[in-house]
Symmetry: C2
Subunit: 229 residues, 2 copies
């Protein structure tokens, strides 16, 4: 084993320009359903995004993710059919006064997006005992979500929009993508270059919901306790 | 409702400098246990990090998260005790030949970090039916993890290290932080300024595990299918 200290490097704050770039990615990232252009995503750009995802934190360095890149029109078509079936079930779950506004929302861009990407979690990776997962078995799923968010922010910087589609019966996703039982489909993403994005979440633009005040969500030293002023 | 198109703004790729900053945050982010300095985290910097977290994607714009900021020494001490109890259980779960290396790892910096932060998920927020959660009930937990990763990357840009501690009995976390039953403690994070970081994951530096080759994790159009070359 090499000297540990050889691996410790200076970790200064970023320059103001660099820091602003990180915040711009975070604040201008959107969940895209309608703005995809037809422009092809080059393989080396796609691999940059997957490399970003692969550098997410993972519990016990488990790296439980796989990346299923979907470009095939037939597979996309079957996923679109799976979405339509689940969404027809979803609309009926809402109170009557929400069904019309719900149905007016576009909630996926599966066939328009040049690339679909399923990020999965292999719950068996790393064997029966994984460091950090001994008391929190879902940490592998959470690690996989960190990979999703890394990719989403990198995509924003590349001018690529990402939409997360979650309205599927899991059994349909498993069947179309031929997933083994120990593998969970954590995120089904649609990717494509965008020329425009909304300046706030689409569900806010369309009046479905609004951003909560941050101050209401911050507690100090325990649930429900606010800052003494 | 305002004209939807008024909210569509140009979304060009970032400049090369900006893009590199986003990737630098992603690639140089570390799970920190030992490098925290005592430097105080100013309130406005902390709020910048929480604002970044609050701009994560959330299913149906549910925003299920709360942020419990912990500075109190007594609360930190109780969390440290909870960690020690769980970690004593954890070590016994490993095969005998892994117990000594496991015990040599430092897996938390609870009392050294100036700020601890518990990011929770309120599963009841948004009522009984949430858009996008109808078929995937764990999407609220995944949204909360996206908030964690946003904060982690923003912190890197600010020169602040973050460590995610997952070795607790959940009941202990609930008791110390007084969480209501519908609220899940998704992530317990330690935050503090750092002067140095490892140039690769600490578990790789210390020989616990190594990064998997990305190419082995990428499939095309279905599980197990690799790119035709």
């Amino acid at each position: 084993m090499s000297n540990l200290n050889d691996h410790l490097k200076s970790a200064a704050p970023f320059s103001e320009t660099e820091r602003e770039a990180v915040y711009r990615a975070i604040f201008s990232r959107r969940d895209v359903r309608s703005q995809f252009t037809e422009r092809h995503i080059e393989e080396h750009i796609l691999m940059r995004l997957l490399t970003a995802a692969h550098h997410a934190p993972s519990v016990g360095f488990m790296q439980p993710w796989n990346f299923i890149v979907i470009a095939d029109r037939d597979i996309k078509g079957r996923m679109r059919t799976a979405f339509d079936r689940a969404n027809a079930e979803a609309v009926k779950m809402f109170p009557e006064d929400r069904r019309t506004p719900y149905s007016a929302l576009k909630l996926q861009g599966i066939t328009e997006a040049p690339v679909n990407l399923c990020i999965t979690c292999d719950r068996s990776r790393g064997g029966p005992v994984v460091l950090g997962r001994t008391h929190a078995p879902d940490m592998d799923l959470y690690s996989t979500v960190c990979a999703v968010q890394n990719l989403w922010l990198a995509a924003r910087a590349e001018g690529i929009g990402v939409g997360w589609v979650s309205i599927f019966r899991e059994a349909d996703v498993r069947q179309v993508l031929n997933l083994p039982p120990e593998v969970i489909p954590v995120a089904y993403l649609c990717l494509g270059y965008v020329d425009v994005l909304y300046d706030m979440p689409e569900l806010a633009v369309k009046g479905w919901g609004q951003r909560l005040p941050l101050d209401d969500l911050v507690f100090r030293d325990g649930w429900g306790l606010t800052l003494k002023k």
